[in-house]
């Protein structure tokens, strides 16, 4: 689910940086207020544990394939929301820098999608409410699977919204949602099962380790308001989705693009019908774009920029390509020159 820099616009990336920076500042203050010094090494080691745990695979029940844990929910169970968010965020920082997984501009998006939802939504409002300290089957398994599915679906939905708002991918909103949500539903089930298996073992072997995530005060949450809240949220999301899918197939994209100077409502309605038919047909991977009138698709994907891209004459684009290639070659030559000039000194200056 890691978003890469190449799919995020500066506006979206910057906004999500702001959101995640606020969440980090809030969590850091909360963790500091706990005044539990032993949390500092525990958080660090558990962050490294998540990496190590991803080296070990298990068989996904009912299928032949294997998977590994992502660890967000497990961290929230062990550490509580705020500390878990910091750990997940630090894992994402290390992944972005050392593994090129994700990116720097996309870091805020990734922290929000993969850290905020498991730590601040799925754990307190789904897992803790459902599990009530009974980690054995079936309660522990149901709670973990439900929480992981909620976290992953929200994260995947948020990936779609952020990608769409960045306006770099041409995937229509509805199609992208239909691609992402089922995949992450399945991943969520697997993640939940793995989390439940680990938590169950820990609950039997050393239950006091699990106490770290629970709130200090004995404040009990009742199930009803949460269920009602989830129902309302599901209704809202479902309603919004069906609205997107029926009236405006690319509603979000359309509104973001600014709708400048486009009044082809008849054509718009036309594609809407086709799109709806395809979504219902379940084979929405190849929507109708290819069969549309040439010219329509280009404006469709980038309504704002369409006027900025008049058909360029072949000659200018040829010279442009030539210039681009030459620039690349020049840049590489500069690099090579810098390299060879440095090489003789390599032995003497390599230090620790």
């Amino acid at each position: 689910m890691h978003m890469a820099d190449a799919l995020v616009s500066p506006a979206v990336g910057g906004t999500m940086w702001g959101v995640s920076a606020a969440a980090i500042a809030y969590s850091a203050r909360k963790v500091k207020l706990q005044r539990k010094d032993s949390l500092v090494p525990l958080m660090g080691v558990l962050g490294a544990f998540v990496f190590a745990a991803q080296m070990i695979n298990f068989t996904i029940p009912g299928t032949g394939s294997s998977g590994h844990i992502a660890g967000g929910l497990l961290l929230a169970i062990l550490l509580g929301p705020e500390a878990a968010f910091l750990v997940i965020a630090s894992v994402l920082v290390v992944q972005a820098f050392f593994f090129a997984d994700g990116g720097l501009l996309a870091l805020g998006c990734n922290m929000f999608n993969m850290g905020f939802f498991p730590a601040f939504i799925a754990y307190p409002f789904v897992y803790r409410v459902l599990v009530r300290k009974q980690y054995a089957a079936p309660r522990g398994w149901v709670a973990a699977v439900a929480a992981a599915v909620v976290a992953l679906l929200l994260g995947a939905f948020s990936v779609v919204v952020e990608t769409k708002a960045s306006g770099i991918s041409a995937l229509p909103f509805g199609t992208f949602v239909m691609l992402m949500l089922p995949i992450h539903f399945a991943i969520g089930i697997v993640e939940g099962l793995a989390t439940a298996a680990v938590v169950l073992f820990v609950a039997r072997a050393r239950p006091e380790v699990l106490a770290g995530g629970e709130p200090a005060a004995g404040r009990r949450r009742s199930l009803r308001p949460v269920l009602i809240g989830l129902l309302i949220a599901a209704g809202l999301v479902g309603g919004a989705l069906s609205w997107f899918a029926s009236t405006h197939p690319d509603g979000l994209e359309w509104s973001i693009a600014g709708l400048t100077g486009h009044t082809e409502l008849a054509q718009q309605a036309d594609t809407a019908h086709q799109k709806l038919a395809q979504v219902q047909g379940g084979s929405a991977i190849m929507p109708d774009y290819g069969f549309k009138r040439p010219g329509a698709a280009g404006q469709h994907g980038a309504a704002r920029a369409a006027p900025a891209w008049p058909a360029v004459s072949p000659e200018t684009s040829l010279s442009g390509l030539l210039g681009g290639l030459l620039t690349l070659v020049l840049a590489v030559l500069v690099g090579l020159a810098l390299r060879t000039r440095r090489a003789p000194g390599a032995h003497t200056t390599v230090g620790r």
Binding site: F51, Y289, P314
Partner: protein
């Protein structure tokens, strides 16, 4: 996560300890410049390919001066490519309107934006990798802390990084223990997995407790103090403003097109 990737992490740490002009620059200067660079790369229109070419100069120069092998950058990039490729590959399928032409060959917007995404991917990832390989995680974290990153988060990243290999080795020992005891398949049933990973988790927690005791014995009071980076020097400012000026120039004028036009004119 496979073994080769862990080795690459160690490689980045090693590269971060080199002593080159780029390594000697202040971490804050490098971080700010790389962020500005990525924002600049991503601010172009989605069909833009050619105008991005001049921006390749920055990661190329940085990795050359910092003696980061290009083959290494390239290999790390290939590992990260699948997700971007999976999203980008839909553009040529969905966006088929012809936008431009190369001689007699028409080029659709989808192929333009696909090439643009992949080029930007190479540029942004190589810049980010060059940043960490030319700075090292320690200097980067203390620099970012100076720029306002909460101290607890900076020390969290450093802690995580420090114990990455310790726990990675532990996972491998567990896996080897399983193999020695006759667990043939490389993948485990869920119940076995739960107790294996649970064991690993408890060991990690116990390790954290030992670390905490050792830290307290050495006077730990709840905050980790990173070394404050020194004053910004003239070379740092020159680095930031020089590159920012270049990015702005490349953003304002299509340098590739200018070069191409000039060449065509000369050829005539």
């Amino acid at each position: 996560m496979r073994l080769a990737e862990w080795i690459d992490v160690g490689r980045i740490d090693e590269l971060g300890r080199l002593d080159t002009p780029v390594h000697r620059l202040d971490a804050r200067a490098k971080a700010v410049t790389v962020l500005a660079y990525i924002a600049c790369v991503m601010s172009y229109h989605r069909y833009e390919v050619v105008a991005l070419a001049p921006l390749a100069l920055f990661p190329i120069v940085m990795s050359s001066l910092g003696r980061i092998p290009w083959g290494f950058l390239w290999r790390r990039m290939l590992v990260a490519a699948p997700f971007v490729l999976a999203v980008a590959v839909f553009n040529p399928l969905l966006d088929r309107a012809q936008v431009t032409a190369l001689g007699p060959i028409g080029i659709s917007g989808g192929w333009l934006s696909f090439s643009s995404i992949m080029l930007r991917f190479v540029l942004t990832v190589s810049a980010a990798l060059a940043l960490i390989a030319c700075t090292g995680i320690y200097d980067l974290c203390s620099g970012m802390e100076r720029l306002g990153l909460p101290g607890i988060f900076a020390s969290q990243i450093l802690f995580l990084h420090r114990y990455l290999f310790v726990l990675g080795d532990e996972a491998q020992r567990l896996a080897r223990g399983l193999a020695v005891r006759g667990f043939r398949p490389r993948v485990l049933r869920l119940r076995v997995y739960g107790s294996l990973l649970g064991h690993m988790l408890l060991r990690s927690v116990a390790r954290a407790e030992r670390i905490y005791c050792a830290m307290v014995a050495r006077g730990f009071d709840g905050t980790i103090r990173t070394q404050r980076p020194g004053m910004l020097r003239l070379s740092d400012a020159a680095f930031v403003f020089g590159w920012a000026g270049y990015f702005a120039a490349a953003r304002a004028w299509n340098l590739s097109a200018l070069l191409g036009d000039w060449l065509v004119r000369v050829a005539r």
